[in-house]
Symmetry: C2
Subunit: 274 residues, 2 copies
Amino acid sequence: MTASPARLPIGIFDSGVGGLSVLDAIADRLPAENLLYLGDTARLPYGTKSPETVARYAVQAAGHLVERGVKMLVIACNTASAHAMPALRAAFPAIPVIGVIEPGAAAAVAAAPRGLIGVLATESTVGSGAYLKAIKDLRPDAEVRQQACTVFVAMAEEGWTEGEAVEAAARRYIEPILNHGRPRPEVLVLGCTHFPLLAQAIAAVAGPGVALVDSASTAAEAVEAALAAGDLAAPVGRGTVHFMATDSASRFGRVATIFLGRPVAPSDVEIVDL
Amino acid sequence: MTASPARLPIGIFDSGVGGLSVLDAIADRLPAENLLYLGDTARLPYGTKSPETVARYAVQAAGHLVERGVKMLVIACNTASAHAMPALRAAFPAIPVIGVIEPGAAAAVAAAPRGLIGVLATESTVGSGAYLKAIKDLRPDAEVRQQACTVFVAMAEEGWTEGEAVEAAARRYIEPILNHGRPRPEVLVLGCTHFPLLAQAIAAVAGPGVALVDSASTAAEAVEAALAAGDLAAPVGRGTVHFMATDSASRFGRVATIFLGRPVAPSDVEIVDL
């Protein structure tokens, strides 16, 4: 007798703790689901690594989730979504794999009536052109400007969500794409799961006419749709969350507490070796 | 007939490109030496990783240099020097291994007549207490204050060496250890090889009464002394420099150009798989 696949957890993978914003949105929308989160904290950040390395690391990490038994993989990392989706789908053909770029692009297009969209992401995600392609697939006449914001990742991990340094970094990154001699973007996509933590400073620089969108809530919608399509939704009940990381439970707990806004103790985090 | 060990290169290892400041100091002081540099850019930064992971990665990377043939290992990364020296000396007992912490501590003690010393380093180096111990070994009555400065690493890698964001980050990190209700430090140790790039902003916050010291030039002195002690100095001539990295030659070249102040092309960088 084998357990029904619907009772298996959803595996959520990120390079570190940023993907907890996606986990949070999924837990809100789908409270009956069991969630198994793996942050590859030993090898983060992915955002400055080459496409080949990102894909190799993502397949290793996802493989660990698959060995544990999951009914779906959510790639809650924009950089991994940008570079590893074909490799992940090839490696795990029997399991639905959901990334965050397509949901983020859909949210941006929906929020930009004139198609003027700015994308803030990691160096590697910008280099992939994945947002550009996903947005153009939905709206071919969209005007997209991209900006890599490497320092934002370190600031979010440090728990710097506001203050002078964050505001100055936001000005340095964002003003060039706002003041470009062409119409301002209507929307800025927070194309890295760390960036929602800095949303207040980013919004202050962008000004009132610019909406911020992130992929967490639209990714949760995509997960719900894929569960329904595969007849994989969990029975009614209260799901559990299990955290795993590849390094340093104490750091994971500390930064997760910032991301989730509730305490995560080091003893809540299982360390795994990939 | 085997080549004389003196003709072998010195192997220099860092988590990324920060150690190029140490390479530069060694090349200045010892121009006849051949230098073989390996930056573990696929797995950087080390400064937020656990001691065990740092030691494991450092031994793997040093092993690659030893396989290539080196007469000495220079650990040009404060975090690896803080956590991996015993493991490295055990793994490679036949080769002298020089770290950067003891030279940095010696420079700090020499520059602080009253023994008032601040240490700016990565989270992992601060956690190790390695600077504290090395300074106290030289001057037991020293008063040492430490500050982890994680965001500085990302800023240096981004090429942000000055400007508002750097100054605001420097204020956020450094003012608490300056204004501590006790005498100000006489010296701030730049206890991460990335931090010399931000020296101007750090000095502006620290003020004129505080000297900055880094371990690059004192590490080069330690290398010279160890070469002499082992009768390993290269014959007179002009040495070569060979760069290796574990990921992304283009990013290595771009950031190395910032660190060395001279162009390093992606084609100058050999990619290796550890």
